[in-house]
């Protein structure tokens, strides 16, 4: 890598903005990986639309820090990223992608709806826009989840397998009691079994990530790190 990585002094406000922005950027990048690989043209556009919503949210949040948004996205090392581990996990199959999107966007939607009334004017403005976007992400993912869970034997099996694998990563999601109340009825409609809460994965907020984040960032950051200041 030709450029020097940056680190920033994190005030509580900056840390909160980075957590939100990194969640959106990393999940947005994961969803963008479906481009050219989605099961249908329609679903490819749906997933990339969601990816663009999330990357747009990330940009607005990075800009709200007052720092250089490109440097924050492209010049931080993995241990400086504050995203939840669930956002960085590889896409897996379509069921895994949908279950993860449902679990994460349900938490995001609850957060943005509450944050519309924030004292921080930047955050309140971002929330007003993001809340409408995440409301659609939840609807799309939930409608798919019900069709996968209550679909064929194979789609049910894949959805349940994904849910079981992802559940230990939900401990990092904000507002978990309200989130559980929102998630449970959809899982029931999808005829999926809600896993019991056991030992939970954590560490993403402190920069202790899975091995997957380094690979994701290598791909995402290689161009601006190899050709600093490159423009189209």
């Amino acid at each position: 890598m030709a450029t020097t990585s940056i680190s920033v002094d994190e005030t509580p406000r900056l840390r909160n903005l980075l957590m939100l922005a990194d969640d959106a950027l990393i999940l947005g990048h994961r969803l963008s990986e479906w481009t050219g690989h989605a099961p249908t043209l329609e679903e490819e556009l749906a997933l990339t639309n969601i990816a663009l919503d999330l990357i747009g949210q990330a940009r607005a949040l990075y800009q709200a820090t007052g720092l250089d948004e490109d440097a924050l996205a492209y010049l931080r090392d993995p241990n400086r990223f504050r995203n939840t581990l669930i956002a960085e996990l590889p896409n897996g199959d379509f069921a895994f992608t949908i279950v993860r999107l449902f679990l994460v966007s349900t938490a995001s939607d609850l957060y943005w709806r509450a944050t519309v009334a924030s004292d921080d004017p930047d955050l309140a403005a971002i929330a007003a826009k993001a809340e409408k976007e995440t409301a659609y992400h939840v609807r799309h993912a939930a409608d798919w989840l019900v069709r996968l869970g209550d679909g064929t034997d194979e789609s049910h099996r894949r959805a349940q397998t994904a849910l079981n694998a992802l559940w230990p990563f939900t401990g990092e999601l904000a507002g978990r009691p309200a989130w559980l109340r929102a998630v449970a009825p959809v899982l029931a409609r999808a005829t999926l079994t809600q896993p019991a809460d056991g030992w939970m994965q954590s560490g993403g907020r402190d920069g202790r990530h899975t091995e997957h984040l380094g690979h994701l960032l290598a791909e995402m950051q290689i161009l601006p790190r190899t050709y600093p200041g490159a423009t189209w």
């Binding site: 249908t40 043209l41 329609e42 556009l45 749906a46 639309n49 609807r139 409608d143 069709r147």
Partner: protein
């Protein structure tokens, strides 16, 4: 794909009619509306969406084209081009 085909209609503004824009594949009506939203309204094109099962469309027979449509060609007086449309009318 053997998922059903749906015809998509978008209304761009109040006062306009829904206009056919294309089609999508989707398993059911709910997902067809979402697919239509995601494929055809990405650039702010729409205020309202209709989706209709493609196999519910009843079409005229191309062989009847001359019988159905040619007789109107000579009836220029049916065009409302002899009237000035007031500005306030808006879309017609």
């Amino acid at each position: 794909m053997n998922t059903p085909l749906w015809e998509v209609f978008v209304r761009a503004r109040n006062g306009l009619a829904h206009k056919h824009v294309g089609s999508v594949h989707a398993a059911d009506a709910t997902m067809a509306v979402q697919a239509a939203r995601d494929v055809y309204t990405r650039r702010g094109e729409g205020l309202s969406l209709w989706v209709v099962p493609s196999n519910e469309i009843v079409a005229s027979d191309p062989a009847d084209k001359d019988m159905l449509f040619e007789p109107t060609g000579s009836k220029i007086y049916r065009h409302p081009t002899f009237y000035a449309v007031p500005e306030e009318v808006g879309h017609m």
